[in-house]
Symmetry: C2
Subunit: 332 residues, 2 copies
Amino acid sequence: MQPIRVAINGYGNLGRAVEAAVHAAPDMELVAIFTRRDPQSLQTRFAPAVHVDQAAEYVGKVDVCALCGGSATDLTDQGPQFAALFNTVDSYDNHALIPEYFETMNQVCAQNSTVSVISTGWDPGLFSIQRLIAEAVLPQGQTTTFWGRGVSQGHSDAIRRIEGVAAGIQYTVPVEEAKASALAGNAGEMTAREKHRRECFVVAAEGADQEQIREQIVTMPNYFEPYDTTVEFISAEEMERDHARMPHGGDVIRAGQTPQGADQSIQFTLTLGSNPQFTGAMVTATCRAVARLAAGSQSGGVSALAGAYTVFDIPPALYSPSSPEQLRKELL
Amino acid sequence: MQPIRVAINGYGNLGRAVEAAVHAAPDMELVAIFTRRDPQSLQTRFAPAVHVDQAAEYVGKVDVCALCGGSATDLTDQGPQFAALFNTVDSYDNHALIPEYFETMNQVCAQNSTVSVISTGWDPGLFSIQRLIAEAVLPQGQTTTFWGRGVSQGHSDAIRRIEGVAAGIQYTVPVEEAKASALAGNAGEMTAREKHRRECFVVAAEGADQEQIREQIVTMPNYFEPYDTTVEFISAEEMERDHARMPHGGDVIRAGQTPQGADQSIQFTLTLGSNPQFTGAMVTATCRAVARLAAGSQSGGVSALAGAYTVFDIPPALYSPSSPEQLRKELL
């Protein structure tokens, strides 16, 4: 078997995680890491850094490109740009705009005979798969998603924009009682406040009024006001020592009844020591699936057509380097 | 859209559960329930009972047949027999013999241009999907499956074969500390005894020696001796009142590290008020997937060839009655 030749676009936390996961995969080979920065300035580990303007030179040398752009803004440009050249995988996570992004990618792929899987990772991604299957098996029921305990980038940014804040980080924390309610099938009535609370850790600038910062945080509309929010002031040293990792995770819970009346519940829980590392691991497994789909790999008699897809369209076997025979023998 | 035309073979607990789930599905229609018994003797709810000898008359009128034979012995005969006539779905669960059963079914399907998905349900089935994806995302790690609290038919049968036992039931119970160990990545060293314990409830025949029954149970090799086993004697009324439902469930846990070193864990938990009802719900969702696969339904540009498949080969979207657009908008 030829190894799957992978390129990466973007070398932030996610790009580094994909680099490490591809390197560790027995059936993959890392070809290049594309960057907008000066390639000389990048300390890549397992493949050369290449300026993004030279990406087109890699057509025919790359089976799939993992798009690790740092934000939704990056991907809306880079997705179509790269899908015109390569099969791609991305973790586009702006839920409201996914249908629009899908249409754009689908057109570009169709025009360029490429295959792209958008919005993989854990949410969207693994959580989406769980929501779909749980709902299909238990059509009569209710699905609730909890996030955390983990860092929310958007909420952390909101804190950092407040005057007098030198550094800040926000953890979204699911309320344990709410999980129990969801499992018991009583999630319907829960408010945002009942489901999650918000923990903020702030380094105040010298001379800043802590009470005023706290007040500005907890009353901030949409971000913090609808939640029980705690604010703790810490030192710059504590921030660096205790809050540099990016843990996250969460739960998808579906509780319902089968038609003959029995109560049934399904729960999927992730406890992640590092959000970007885990997302990178799922992006990497999805790269394997896309390379096989695009190559017309036959699992379930599947062959792929050019276009955009999501994790909903991927037979699970394609994520694994094991053969169908091994999978049936060892994991079924 | 034409409804998916479903038949059922076998009318035990599982057949009844599939009957109810197909009836509740908006996109399915129940055509017939095949039985080896006198069809007149069956009180079916949503479709006529038909003697199994007449099944061949339904070729062309059925898109998929759910094989609900009550045991592995039934399915090894009925699987090939029905796969020669219809697309089929079954819940074949003899793990050790799955590769052999797969080969037989694959040949029959290829010869008869049918599509069969074997071994769906929750284990094998949903648990298998979780094991595969978790391992693909976290190749460095360890997967542990816990079962229960739930009734084990095999262990209950073993109790009932003991002289002096009028009725008996056995619950497999996972040890909570063992789950915690598995989540912490320390499952490697655990013995059978450390992972599960066994709770037996027995109705003793009049005049039977309870102490002797208890001794025979707890010392029974393979079944009970390797476990901490408790035996409680109850009345026939208690047996009927408290142990008629068939709850079950369990956990698939994978704990490991991403290549950059962070600890990550994935846990999938089912808490089932009724094992056959839930299995029937998953069999029904799989019938939908098979009917679409066989019809060349295109999700992910997928079209099916005749042959045998497993849940590993099924794109999740095919389980759901919703359109790809709806799924992307609502569940991604």
